[in-house]
Structures are given as structure tokens and as C-alpha cells.
């Protein structure tokens, strides 16, 4: 028999673990802020590396378009199917387009698209820059007179920031189309009627905050992915870890940004 471990020691080590985890989370936030500051300092400096920026925009949009479409379509479909019985009970099925429209455009579209892109684009950036760091490609760039932060990081962050609002619009449209399909089968609503109702219920105050939020989502995905990859630890294990922690950290950050955005929007509404 091995000696029993006193229960208070177990719980203490648990607390200790949470404490160190929280501490390293705060350190990470600090380092990420520094990285972000460097991004804003370098992104407006010449040369702008336009060719690489466009290449990244195309590449990122292209890689996530299909995934965003599929998730958007399913979300629109499911949301409508599940809301239908409740609305029917109150005899309010005619509210469906406005209800679904508002919830998708304001909240579900941006966050789902951002989460999908965190998995697709964020981890991709983390793995790519990570393996470039480990195999000394970033060092090679630096000695050949190209600033690797500008060439690799600034272009990628900017590309996701520009692409994410577009992907969100696209995802929203597909989700609404999915919702319309359900309504046209179950409720016999015409395409024009459905979308007229959707657009009638949407206001400027729904679309602008959602777009601003999406820009911040894109910024977070790009910055965290680049940050994890750029400071990747040596060894192949480091690359996997960079990609993985990019997704985990970004997802967490997305919800925090979402929370703040809703909070701020709410204040503006009250004014």
C-alpha cells in the first residue's frame, strides 16, 4: 500500500494548477498585445507587399468558402426547423423571416463563420509560420533583407481581417437561403416574400455592429495564428502545438470579443 495522499494536498495542487494556468494566460495576453502593437506599427510602413496580400486573400477565401457555406446552410435550416413549432403554437409563423434574419445577421452568422475560420485559417497560419520558423525559413528571409514580420505576419493578418466580413456576409446569405428552403416547403412562402420580410426587419443598426464585430474577429484570428506560429518552439512537436493552441486561444478570444461587442452595442442602443 502506498501512503494515502492527504486530501488537502490534492485540492491545493489543483488550485495551484489553475493559478499557474491563469498566470500563463495573462502572460500570453501581454505578449499578444505587444505583438498586436508591432502589427499596427509595421502594417502602415512601406513596402506594402501587395502581391503577397492579394495572394493570401485569395488563398484564405478560397480555402474556407465551402466550409462556411455548408455550416451556414445547416445552421439556417436547423434554426428554422426548431423554431417553427414554438412560433406555430403562438400563431406567429409569419414572424419567422424577421426572427431568423435578425438572429443570423446579428449573432449566429458572425460567430459561426469566425469559429469555422479559426479552425481553418487560424490553424493554417499557425502551422505554416511555425514550420517556417522551425526550418529557419524566417531567418533566411531576414538575412536576405526582407522583414519577415511585414512579409509574412502583416499580410496574413490583414488578409483575414479583410476577408472575414466578406465571408460572414456570404455565410449569412447561405444561412438565410437554408431557412427559406424550410419555409417554402413547410409554409409555402415565396422567395420574394421571404426575403422582403427579412430585409424589412433588418436595420442599419443590425448590420453595422455585426460587420465591425466581424472585422475584430478576423483580426483576432490572424493575430493569434501568426503569434503562435511566429514564436513557435523548435521541433516538429512545436508546429502541432502552435496550430492547436492557435485554435483554442482564438476560439476563447472570439467569445470574449463577442461579449464585449454585444455589451457596447447595447449601450449605443440605449443612448
Amino acid at each position: 500500500m502506498h501512503p494515502a495522499i492527504p486530501i488537502y494536498l490534492v485540492s491545493m495542487s489543483g488550485i495551484h494548477n489553475i493559478k499557474t494556468q491563469f498566470k500563463s494566460f495573462l502572460i500570453e495576453i501581454g505578449e499578444l498585445s505587444y505583438f498586436t502593437a508591432r502589427f499596427f506599427k509595421e502594417v502602415f510602413k512601406r513596402p506594402f507587399e501587395l502581391k503577397e496580400l492579394l495572394r493570401q486573400c485569395y488563398y484564405m477565401g478560397n480555402r474556407s468558402l465551402f466550409l462556411v457555406a455548408i455550416t451556414g446552410f445547416i445552421i439556417g435550416l436547423v434554426l428554422t426547423l426548431q423554431t417553427r413549432p414554438t412560433l406555430q403554437e403562438f400563431g406567429a409563423v409569419s414572424w419567422m423571416p424577421s426572427m431568423v434574419g435578425i438572429s443570423i445577421v446579428r449573432e449566429i452568422g458572425p460567430i459561426i463563420t469566425a469559429l469555422v475560420c479559426a479552425g481553418r485559417i487560424g490553424s493554417g497560419i499557425g502551422a505554416e509560420l511555425g514550420s517556417m520558423r522551425v526550418t529557419e525559413q524566417i531567418d533566411a528571409m531576414e538575412v536576405s533583407g526582407t522583414n519577415p514580420f511585414k512579409y509574412l505576419v502583416a499580410t496574413r493578418v490583414l488578409a483575414v481581417t479583410l476577408m472575414l466580413p466578406l465571408l460572414v456576409f456570404f455565410g449569412d446569405a447561405i444561412a438565410l437561403f437554408g431557412s427559406y428552403l424550410v419555409e417554402s416547403v413547410k409554409g409555402d412562402v415565396s422567395f420574394t416574400l421571404y426575403f422582403t420580410q427579412v430585409f424589412n426587419s433588418l436595420e442599419f443598426g443590425d448590420i453595422v455592429p455585426a460587420t465591425i464585430k466581424s472585422i475584430f474577429f478576423g483580426l483576432a484570428i490572424g493575430l493569434v495564428g501568426s503569434f503562435k506560429g511566429y514564436y513557435c518552439k523548435k521541433g516538429t512537436a512545436g508546429v502541432g502545438k502552435a496550430a492547436n493552441s492557435a485554435v483554442v486561444f482564438t476560439s476563447l478570444l472570439l467569445f470574449i470579443i463577442d461579449f464585449i461587442a454585444v455589451f457596447v452595442t447595447d449601450i449605443f442602443y440605449d443612448l
Binding site: 505554416e128 514550420s131 517556417m132 526550418t135 529557419e136 525559413q137 531567418d139 533566411a140 528571409m141 531576414e142 538575412v143 536576405s144 533583407g145 526582407t146
Partner: protein, 252 residues
């Protein structure tokens, strides 16, 4: 074989004095010194993990030294700003340990990359195509322009990396373990290539290796990096005749 050059009379192109570098408690370099003369092949040997790569990275400003002076062609690189450093770097070729080819770019794009920033070094009417073709011919791989690095063997990658290093016609070339990870025959080919380059362009070379055959063939002068310092300096013959057990270990 190589004609004996009167190297110590040539001017010094690279000099490190009392270089120190630590990572936390890991004291990697503890006062390292070296001099590289014009036209010389200087070989630095040391066990793996002894800080050879750290030293060479301090030389080009990829790592910041804790203390000591590093002068490259009479410029103290620890005191240069980014722009001046970039200009100086155009005269220094760096062959990385694992080739470090950009794997999202073709061979041709890899070779063009250093030309993006250092174009002013070449006269404007010099065609980039010509430079790329010449660099590839120098390493005997003229028909690989459109291949991706993943389609190349280890030896070919190393040659392409050498071509990329040579495209700016550097005055000094730093080789970080040029033969590591290659089979003996390919390694010999790379060494021959290094000698050809040296004769054709009259470059000075700093070669990091733990390949004793490579050192025997190429070294005009050798430094053994042991315990973070320049433990022993001399020609291959001098060092291989040493009685010091730490030195003997390198020559088996």
C-alpha cells in the same frame, strides 16, 4: 590540391571578440574569439549543442549578443540600424543547416527572393532571368526552375540553397553544417561545389561542421569551439597532432 595561400597577411573581413550569449541559465558562449581573413576557409568544429549556430546567428544579427564585439568588414554589427544591417547582409551569404528553402515557392521564386530587396546591388539592366540561370548553372541544376522544394532530394535542396546564397555574389559565405544529413557521396559533391565557388568568386568562408573529412579537405585554419570558447586554433595538421584529450576526441 589547393595552393597554399599566404592568408594571415590578408585583411580581416570578420572578427569576433569576447562574444558572450546565454539563454537564461544556459551559458552557451562564454567569450568566443575568431578572425576570418580575406580568401580564407575557416572551419569551426564543435559538438552538437555547443553553440555553433548561435555564434553564426549572432554574426548576422539574427540573435543579439549579450556582450562582445562583432565586426563585419570593419562595421560593428551590434551598432548598426536595421537599414545599414540589411545593406551589409547583402555581402554575407548564409547557408542554413537544413537548407531553409521557402517551401511555398518554386525554385525560381526562391532564387529571386533575395533580389527583391537587394536589387540596387546589381546594375538595373542585368536581367533577373540571367542571374537565376547563372546561379542554377553554378550548382549544376539548370533545369529545376519550376520545381517545388518538396520535389527535390536532400542534396538538390542543399545545392539550390547554395545557389540562392550565391545569387547576390556575397563576399563572405557562412555555411552552417553544409554536409549534415547528406550521404557521404553527396556530401563530397557539396564540398567540391564549395571549393569551386571559392575559386570562382574569391569569397571568404566560415564553415561550421562536425564532418572531419570536410574539415580536412577545405580548412585553411580551424577553431575548436569547446565550452563556449575558442578552445584551440590552428591548421588541420597542427590540431590533429595535439595531445590534449579534448582536442583528440574530434580526430578520433
Amino acid at each position: 590540391m589547393m595552393d597554399k595561400k599566404n592568408i594571415p597577411n590578408q585583411e580581416i573581413v570578420l572578427e569576433i571578440k569576447d562574444l558572450r550569449k546565454s539563454f537564461g541559465d544556459n551559458h552557451v558562449l562564454n567569450g568566443f574569439n575568431m578572425q576570418l581573413h580575406q580568401g580564407e576557409n575557416l572551419v569551426i568544429m564543435g559538438k552538437s549543442g555547443s553553440g555553433k549556430s548561435v555564434m553564426i546567428k549572432c554574426l548576422v544579427g539574427l540573435l543579439e549578443a549579450d556582450s562582445g564585439s562583432i565586426s563585419v568588414m570593419k562595421n560593428d554589427i551590434t551598432k548598426l540600424d536595421q537599414e545599414a544591417l540589411d545593406i551589409l547582409r547583402a555581402d554575407i551569404g548564409f547557408l542554413f543547416q537544413g537548407s531553409a528553402l521557402y517551401d511555398s515557392m518554386t525554385v525560381r521564386e526562391n532564387l529571386e527572393f533575395p533580389l527583391r530587396r537587394h536589387k540596387q546591388k546589381n546594375s538595373l539592366d542585368t536581367d533577373i532571368n540571367e542571374l537565376v540561370a547563372e546561379a542554377l548553372e553554378n550548382v549544376g541544376l539548370a533545369n529545376t526552375q519550376d520545381l517545388m522544394p518538396s520535389e527535390l532530394s536532400g542534396g538538390m535542396k542543399r545545392r539550390i540553397a547554395l545557389a540562392r546564397t550565391l545569387i547576390l555574389k556575397p563576399k563572405i559565405i557562412l555555411y552552417d553544417e553544409p554536409t549534415s544529413g547528406l550521404d557521404p557521396i553527396t556530401a563530397k559533391e557539396i564540398i567540391m561545389l564549395m571549393q569551386e565557388v571559392q575559386q570562382k568568386y574569391g569569397t571568404s568562408s566560415l564553415i561550421i561542421t562536425h564532418d572531419i573529412d570536410c574539415a580536412r579537405v577545405i580548412a585553411d585554419q580551424m577553431i575548436l569551439l569547446i565550452d563556449g570558447i575558442d578552445y584551440a586554433v590552428g591548421t588541420f595538421q597542427e590540431l590533429s597532432a595535439s595531445k590534449d584529450p579534448k582536442i583528440k576526441a574530434f580526430f578520433k
